[in-house]
Symmetry: C3
Subunit: 140 residues, 3 copies
């Protein structure tokens, strides 16, 4: 049983949805030593999130940002947690709805994603430093 773990800091991303599949794979090349297993990508923050979605047309990612802002708008009268700015509380809610980690099968040394699937970093704050990820790969 093999277990590999890396902690990396991404570059800063603007608010929105961003493909990071290559950054993740390049940071943990030990995946190629695993015949059957899993890779987890975990984000150590509560106002940014991770998801898997289409890796091709960039307007998919623009539309994600447009619609998530409709679902979880800023400046709702009932928000009490407002001292970090109007984008903060919506960022927390978006992060929990999209999720803090993705876990992906590894098959024959590679991530076993569908051909249209990529990993998204979802940045929900207007300004944020590069986000910390923990990458954990394991298997036989």
């Amino acid at each position: 049983m093999k277990f590999f773990q890396k902690e990396i800091r991404l570059q800063s991303f603007s608010r929105g949805f961003h493909l990071i599949t290559s950054e993740v794979i390049n940071a943990i090349p030990e995946i190629n030593q695993i015949k059957l297993g899993q890779l987890q990508v975990f984000i150590k923050h509560t106002s940014a999130s991770l998801t898997i979605n289409e890796n091709a047309d960039p307007t998919v990612r623009t539309d994600f940002e447009s619609h998530i802002n409709v679902l979880i708008p800023e400046n709702q009268s009932y928000y009490k947690h407002t001292f970090e700015g109007p984008d903060d509380m919506p960022a927390h809610i978006k992060a929990s709805l999209l999720g803090t980690s993705v876990q992906i099968p590894i098959t024959n040394g590679k991530l076993n994603l569908g051909i249209w699937q990529g990993i998204y970093l979802c940045e929900h704050r207007n300004r944020a430093q590069g986000r910390l990820l923990v990458l954990t790969a394991f298997g036989n």
Copy 2:
């Protein structure tokens, strides 16, 4: 440490929420060789998703479809990714909110689900071919 992995194609499902617990269990009977572990079900698509919810009353699944269409409607003026039809971009957003995988504890050779829990295939497109799943079971 045991690791088993299968790739299966489900039958085609209509748009909506469908119980697939039996299909999953039948496809990976090696679960019964695992005393303590986990099973992951991963979907290799970006317009269908997986979740765990009530396995009994079918109106729960109907109500899921009704409400998710209210949360993520078609034909929003701000959608740019429209060339695959009005159901496509909403399908991507639904898929990321519900999730691409479920991971379930295995205890004494069986999935350790609550008595009311089942695995749902959530089909978000009006028409789709059978979806590909990767099943990964591991443990001692």
Copy 3:
């Protein structure tokens, strides 16, 4: 390869979002025997859920409850699954959007959470008994 599993019942919580990080860690001290690994917390119910979010200001948790009730309101005319009360069907939908499990990296015998991250029990029913959790820790 080490594998530990515990099943615990939480105290009853009121409807809303509640920090349970300490309860989880105290229930599975074997985490400290794992150098590299993962902990999964899985909830065996379909009307309560688990997520990771801010562990500090309690108004974050109040605002989660306020906004999730706007996203998934009670008494929608199209709900068919109504015989368990008006809070039941919304509870199912909330549970699937937030998720049935969280999976967290273990590093050097401790959960590798960000400094602001904690585990939330999200209780979506007006009244519920203590919820069952399955805790699964594994690694080298």
